[in-house]
Amino acid sequence: MTAVEVPTAIPTPASRTDHLLRRLLRNPLAVISLLFLALVVLIAIIGPFIAPYNPNPANLQSILEPPSPEHLLGTDTAGRDVFSRLLVATQITVAAAALAVVTAMIFGVVTGLIAGYYQGWFDNVASWVTSLVMALPAIVILLAARAVLGPSVWISMFIFGVVLAPAYFRLVYTMVSSVRTELYVDAARVSGLSDLRIIGRHVLSVVRAPIIIQTAIVAIIAIAIQSGLEFLGLGDPAIPTWGGMLQDAFTKIYVAPILMLWPSLAIALTSIALMLLANAMRDVLERTVVVRRKRRRAVTTRTGSVAAVTTAASVTDLGDEVDIVTLEGEPIRHDDDEQASARSADVILRVKDLRVGYGQSDGSTTEVVHGVSLDIRKGEVHGLIGESGSGKSQTAFAVLGLLPKGGSVTGGSIEYEGIRLENGSDADYRGIRGRRIAYIPQEPMSNLDQSFTIGSQLTEPLRVGLGMSKAEARDKALSLLERVGIPNPVRTFKAYPFEVSGGMAQRVLIAGAVSTDPDLIIADEPTTALDVTVQAEVLDLLRDLQAERHMAMLLVTHNFGVVADLCDRVTVMQSGLFVETGPVRAIFQRPEHPYTKSLLAAILDEGPARPPLAPAGTAPQGANS
């Protein structure tokens, strides 16, 4: 009945509303809709005064006349002037719909404000009444009322307003409940404003725009129901309405179907205009939010000098005051030392001049990775380090062929053992992604589908990709779970993701990644979302698995401690470019780029669990065979 989802919880400050109106007027569809609705309202007001004929008395001499200069739209089944009836009916229909809307608004908004602001028992009562009203179709309620109270349009519409009130109630309630916990509302309360003032000033201003949208939609429903009742012949026959005219025309559908056109057009066009208006407003509201979000990201992704300025600012936050300049072009390269060259020389992943961009709604492309080159050799752990927004994850996703919607490789190449993968389709990646190249994500919980058991998510790729039987896949998954250090593999296998801890979930994801014995693992900040103690355990696990299976790894991180712990080589990334690359020891001992220096200085300031230099000299060799 009122199943309309209006975008909620967009707490827009009051000053924005005028702004919204101006934006709305820039949308041509919204302007046309507004003009049409203004016309309808105008006719509703002056209609009876400009109607050329009295709409009611029957004139049996002139039944069903075609349109003529005397009768612009012809006459109906009782010889009445259709044009005059349409004008008068507009007044009644609009007034009836308005009565329902206003009733619903008053009941819904007031109760919603009170329930949302005070919560408590009022809550339960209100939600119970809502489900009570929702259990019966509105028209059945109205018909039952009509059986008792008689055919009054106004009584029907008042009752319908009460029935529609939950539409406003739910909207206002959710928005108010989210606003009341906002800090500025707390502040207002502390500063001694009365509840009434707070509701009036801070809360009402937030719900205003969504209420207008909801009103357009409620008006559509009110017009539909009111016309429907009249169409059933259950209205007051003495009052012309759009629905009543339609009913009269319907009785002559075989003789004069054209009579149905005028009331149908009135109902349909008014409803469409209201709908377009609601849609345009929703777009404006949503876009305001999108623009705000995008702006924040744009600061960290824009190229050139702007990026240099903004990143310099954020590096300063790390507690370092080095003057940093971003250089377009080649990164500083350190020559291999014996530790790094001890690895096999076979390159399995070759990324050349990779550029990644996102298409914008205006057709342009915003580039976030500006041409980077990287080789990963067999069995090598390669760290990719930089602050958030530097393009590390974008580089990793590009290699996997899993860039978020709108993103694509705009230049350069990605080659896995000679196979070109840039912008590859599912078919291009068949047998590679999930088989030879695996992925370990950052945030363990959001990377598991909460609707399926851990076991089913572990075995699905094994069965689909490797063609294992159900039992084989289960055995394999259980042994993997055991290998990654899960104490009770069978129980975890049967559990849903939300039943295990974050550390366990990350182990599950690692088990999934290594399940197909890949040659290359792309790990995107695999420990960032974990507790510090769990971080160390997961790093140990990764190191052991890497050594045991001789996998190459591209380890994306913002933590030099992790690099020191695990990596053979490291590449430093800043603002979509590589600035320095080389063996881990060389970078730690002789950092040349000021950005690298600032990052190294930052870890000393942060005081990580492990000192940076000691493990660099010891841990990775332990992994050498």
Partner: protein, 313 residues
């Protein structure tokens, strides 16, 4: 799981009881001197009193309600005031017609909403624009206008379908299809417009989820991830909306049945309302409430099947 079902059944029963009490009170208190209305203005006082006694209207309301409710539990909702027929008999035969319309429309809605919603979300661009455009039309234009349009074009002008009347499924399958196709489409269009938007939104949201990337990183195809994982997670909100649509369509059927002259609950409601035949109106209210509760229960069960969080809570 069992307590989940029991709790839902219990709250449904309470809902039915509350609706019944409220409607009974309002309908019977609001109707004034019923015996007088039935017999007309010219009947003598004794005759009116006799009629009232015959219908049991001279007893206190609570006693009347108790008598009605106890027999209602056995499936007897009393008799029509005007033609003396059993309410349950009148409702029974008509319920099948209305339910076949509404269930047909709900199936159509579910199928097309999923297809269109996924198509719009994944293809984007012109496909998305077209789906959005028709959704706006489908949502804004009332169902009975669509029904009138369908009758005019496909029944009266093209003669593809029957314009009016009902042929039972048992008499002729093609005849039945010919009589219910247009009403079902008319009922479904509003639902498709609403739910395809919901599905589109949920799929778009789902596609941007981390787990989708991770599942694909493990070699599963985009199609498989969308149809197995994204769709399942999108199912919850869409199902909730489907329940609301189901109730709404029973209301829509009242008008649509009138247009196509189908002998369903809708036409019975209209005649009973116009005549003020309270026992029938009461029966319709109770049956509708029961249907609503059953539908919501089924949807809750479906939710629990889809979403382990619901099931395990």
């Amino acid at each position: 799981m069992l307590t989940f079902i029991l709790r839902r059944v219990l709250s449904g029963l309470v809902l039915i009881v509350v609706i019944t009490i409220i409607s009974y009170t309002l309908l019977y208190l609001g109707s004034g001197n019923i015996a007088r209305q039935i017999l007309g203005q010219n009947a003598s006082e004794e005759l009116v009193a006799q009629k009232a006694a015959e219908l049991g209207l001279d007893r206190p309301l609570i006693v009347q309600f108790w008598t009605w409710a106890t027999s209602a539990l056995t499936g007897d909702f009393g008799r029509s005031w005007f033609n003396g027929q059993l309410v349950s008999v009148q409702l029974g035969s008509r319920l099948a017609v209305t339910l076949s319309l509404v269930i047909g429309a709900i199936i159509l809605t579910a199928i097309f909403s999923v297809i269109l919603g996924i198509l719009a979300a994944r293809r984007g661009g012109a496909v998305d624009g077209t789906v959005q455009f028709f959704s706006i039309l489908g949502f804004a234009i009332p169902g009975f206008l669509i029904a009138l349009f369908l009758v005019l074009v496909f029944a009266i002008n093209l003669h593809w379908f029957k314009a009016t009347g009902y042929i039972p499924f048992t008499t002729s399958v093609t005849g039945w299809l010919s009589s219910v196709t247009l009403p079902i489409i008319a009922l479904a269009i509003g639902g498709i417009a609403t739910i395809s938007q919901q599905v589109r939104g949920s799929v778009l949201d789902g596609l941007s989820r981390d787990y989708v990337r991770t599942l694909r990183s493990r070699g599963l195809s985009s199609n498989r991830v969308v149809y197995k994982h994204v769709l399942r997670n999108a199912g919850g909100p869409a199902l909730a909306l489907l329940a609301v649509q189901f109730i709404g369509m029973i209301g829509g059927a009242v008008i649509v049945e009138q247009i196509f002259a189908l002998p369903g609950i809708g036409s019975l409601t209209v005649t009973a309302t116009a005549a003020g035949d309270i026992p029938i109106v009461m029966g319709i209210v109770v049956v509708t409430a029961i249907i609503a509760v059953v539908v919501n229960l089924l949807i809750d069960l479906a939710q629990a099947a889809l979403n382990p969080k619901v099931r395990l809570s």
